[in-house]
Assembly symmetry: C2
Homo-oligomer: 150 residues x 2
Amino acid sequence: MNRKNPPTARPRSAAAVLSIGQVAKNAGVHVETIRFYEREGLIAQPPKPSMGIRRYPQDTVHRIRFIKHAQALGFSLQECRELLELRGDDPQACALMRHHAQEKLSAIRAKLQALSQMEGVLTELLEACQQGRIGKDNPCPILKALDAED
Amino acid sequence: MNRKNPPTARPRSAAAVLSIGQVAKNAGVHVETIRFYEREGLIAQPPKPSMGIRRYPQDTVHRIRFIKHAQALGFSLQECRELLELRGDDPQACALMRHHAQEKLSAIRAKLQALSQMEGVLTELLEACQQGRIGKDNPCPILKALDAED
DNA sequence: CTAGACCCCGTATCCGAGTACGGAATCAAG
DNA sequence: CTTGATTCCGTACTCGGATACGGGGTCTAG
């Protein structure tokens, strides 16, 4: 159990062996996304052996997964670009990463606040709208709120 | 109390009296925004009296405020376009408005869930990153998580 | 009457994260 | 050898909500 792949099975520094389509499939993205990331400098474009197709190292797959994981935590591609620099065993990297993560956490909490503000107002308005039937004299509370002067 | 504006004070169907700049100032938006809304069909563009400037009715200000209020509750301009149709005293409008509001509330709650998921993961990772100093053998938990296979 | 502010109109640009298109070349299978 | 799938490459487009630019016309105060 928990047996790691023997060195022969998945060498960490494998040669460039994958076509772009295989990288895409392994990383779970579209080919165009890889091209896009290359243009954006997020991943390196391997040299083209004139009269042939490019071959990508396994690490490209890891880089893309890294990006996708960071995105899932709310990081933009620009931020991913910075985070990718921190990959590796640099002891300073951890502190920087922590800093980025804390900033992102603050940003997420700010968004959460804004959204739950919206949720609160909408909920209130909907409650006001349920009770006391509308139509006679008093207008829809929601529409009234949207029409409000202030 | 609750006295409605006498017809003489603020006639509901006032004549077209405002320049676009005055509308902008009163509504708290930029002139370009008004032009943009006109292009998008959110507000009507008054006819131009050839050799002169356009004059906007007061209601344009109200429409823009309406849009801004709806935006503040999370509605897109496309949705605002639909909500604007509901302005007025139509008894059906309230039911439709309520429906839109409920849908939006669900969408907001979904976003809240997604964001608080992110918040949770980031918080956990940051906690794991604080305790147990890094650098010797064990890598930064956050970077490790981003590098994870799955 | 002139300077400066405002208005008109069309077009282009921005952000972010891709997606789409299309022609040419190359690869893999039958 | 032919057919179909991939790859390559550049360019353009998408969505949403504006914002910016530029060269005119018009309005208002002094």
